[in-house]
């Protein structure tokens, strides 16, 4: 059993808007978070019992080990009362932290190429993954190719940081303000056949329509892809059964997996995309 910590008094080191509606929070997490796998997530719990009432799940965007703590970075968009309350917290405030939770990405030490497909905020777990790959395989030279799509150039989050990780960026925007005008999956689909030539690991995170399109692209490619999913959650530890996703399988009838425990990372082919609603 992998250790899960619950600490009601974790210090916020910083919390700021870096784009309208988009925040980066840095937490002073316990040292054991150093062993959190890329793709694992945490729950943030605001004290009190009114709105927001339930903990909120966030994946880990960045992680830095320091002598006495781990600096955990969380990327979030203010979309409702919960994230609005989070955005109003300040440096020095305390927050509840539960984690690290769930099943993260599988990292292949023999990977010859790493391909990341990110839509908007979907960059968050992939950034941590790229960081982990560069650290774990630091003696090896291998390409990281990052497909990054957003509504407009200003929303291409994590672009600089990906470049610092020596990622080869392929960009798309809905409005054509930079890169390919259209969806990021269109760029990825063009290149996909060329990824069969070597040991390529493919990872994705983004909005549901993007992942559905990606699932369609991957059919018949002979390649697999790991995706990080998002769902409403209450407990984060597998008890409430609130965050389920329909899984594919031979057996008749629907079968569900919990995003919090069987996920949040699944193989793209594990998911029954035919029943996923937008």
């Amino acid at each position: 059993m992998r250790e899960i910590l619950f600490d009601q008094q974790v210090q916020i080191l910083s919390n700021r808007f870096f784009l309208p509606g988009h925040c980066l929070m840095v937490l002073r997490a316990p040292l054991s978070y150093g062993s959190a796998c890329p793709g694992q997530f945490i729950m943030l719990i605001l004290p009190g019992r009114s709105v927001p009432f339930l903990p909120r799940p966030f994946c880990i965007y960045g992680l830095a080990e320091e002598p006495e703590c781990v600096r955990l970075e969380i990327l979030y968009r203010v979309t409702g009362e919960g994230t609005d309350s989070l955005s109003r917290l300040h440096e020095g405030d305390k927050i509840g932290l539960l984690g690290p939770l769930g099943r993260g990405f599988d990292i292949d030490p023999a990977a010859q190429r790493v391909v990341l497909v990110a839509g908007g905020m979907g960059i968050a777990p992939l950034m941590r993954l790229a960081q982990a790959y560069r650290f774990l395989l630091r003696d090896k030279e291998f390409p990281i190719i990052c497909y990054l799509g957003a509504a407009a150039e200003s929303h291409l989050i994590g672009r600089d940081r990906m470049e610092a990780l020596r990622a080869d960026l392929r960009l798309s925007t809905d409005d054509g303000s930079t890169g390919h005008r259209g969806f990021i999956t269109e760029l990825f689909a063009q290149d996909l056949p060329s990824y069969r030539d070597s040991n390529t690991m493919i990872y994705a995170c983004g909005p549901l329509p993007m992942l559905k399109t990606l699932a369609h692209c991957m059919i018949g490619s002979g390649l697999s892809c790991q995706v990080s999913l998002e769902e409403r959650m209450a407990c984060g530890v597998g008890a409430c059964l609130g965050c389920v996703v329909a899984l594919s399988g031979e057996a008749p009838g629907i079968r569900y997996g919990r995003v919090c425990t069987e996920g949040p990372v699944f193989s793209l082919s594990e998911i029954d995309w035919s029943v996923q609603d937008e």
Binding site: C235, G242, R255
Partner: protein, 308 residues
């Protein structure tokens, strides 16, 4: 001063303290073993068990509401056979009473689940869910009508070698009528309340927030309703009553004891604070110490009311 005596009895069942987990909010125990020593609980009430496994409802299944949440999980569970084989061995080793919450679509299904659990060994009592409002062919009909509530109670009691606690739905006109009917049918104890039927809308999409449209409301939002119903039930029956509904702190639990609950269950609060049950146990002990009470018995039914 010595620690107060926290022991309570629910029929023939003795608990080291009066705090249990509520069904459906604590999985099968294992999920929370990370956070504290489970053997410190009064009892563990496990996720509802049916004869056959159930896949549950389509998502979205949960929605946050003011001081609470709606759920329409649809009684997803592994089924009684897998529960006994895969989940019960862990629970047996915890060393505290395990209460199996059971449900069925027919009286016969309740009876068969009860029989299998009584034979399995390692279960200390049954909690009969006659209340879950989520499933179209589920418990609603049993818990909302005194005759069907009595029928399923008598049938389970008839085959059970274990104490039988019946969990009531609050979605009724008069809880006292149901409580009395269940007592007359032979129940050893009552637990209440289950979730209140509710609804929420995603106004951007003009759609229900839950795929099932309606769901069960839980959390601090429902505590005053739960407390009122427990108070009414205690005054209507002579069997022990276990109170639940929105209990998140020791203060909340103390209110339920004062109106006469012999034990409490903690549900949704586990999601916000995985150690909520433990903090509640400690808080009750501190209150008793502060009041100079030597036993939890001094507190149960200690409510002072002025009759005009």
């Amino acid at each position: 001063m010595n620690k107060p005596d926290m022991k309570v009895t629910i029929g023939s069942l003795t608990l080291q303290n009066p705090v249990m987990t509520a069904s459906g909010t604590f999985g099968y125990g294992e999920e929370y073993a990370h956070f504290f020593d489970l053997s410190r609980l009064g009892a563990i009430v496990v996720k509802g068990i049916s004869l056959a496994p159930r896949v549950g409802n389509r998502p979205p299944r949960i929605m946050e509401t003011a001081s609470g949440m709606l759920n329409a999980v649809g009684l997803q569970n592994v089924g009684v056979k897998a529960f006994i084989e895969e989940k019960l061995p862990f629970l047996r080793n915890v060393g505290i009473p395990v209460i199996a919450n059971i449900f069925g679509a027919t009286v016969d299904e309740y009876v068969r689940v009860a029989q299998e659990l009584c034979e399995a060994g390692g279960v200390s009592a049954l909690e009969v869910n006659i209340s879950c409002p989520n499933v179209k062919h589920g418990g609603l009909a049993f818990g909302a009508d005194p005759r069907s509530a009595a029928e399923v109670t008598a049938a389970v009691k008839g085959v059970s070698s274990l104490p039988v606690m019946v969990k009531l739905t609050p979605n009724v006109t008069d809880i006292r009528v149901i409580a009395s009917a269940v007592e007359d049918a032979g129940a050893d104890a009552l637990s209440l309340i289950n979730t209140l039927l509710g609804m929420s809308i995603d106004i951007a999409g003009k759609r229900p927030a839950l795929r099932n449209v309606t769901g069960g409301l839980s959390g601090p939002a429902i505590k005053p309703v739960a407390l009122r119903m427990v108070w009414q039930a205690v005054r209507s029956v002579s069997i022990p009553v276990v109170g639940l509904g929105g209990i998140a702190t020791a203060r909340d639990a103390l209110e339920f004891f004062m109106v006469g609950a012999r034990a409490v269950q903690v549900g949704t609060a586990n999601f916000i604070n995985p150690r909520a049950t433990l903090e509640i146990i400690e808080g009750i002990e501190q209150y008793l110490l502060g009041e100079g009470m030597t036993s939890i018995d001094n507190l149960i039914g200690a409510l002072i009311t002025v009759e005009d």
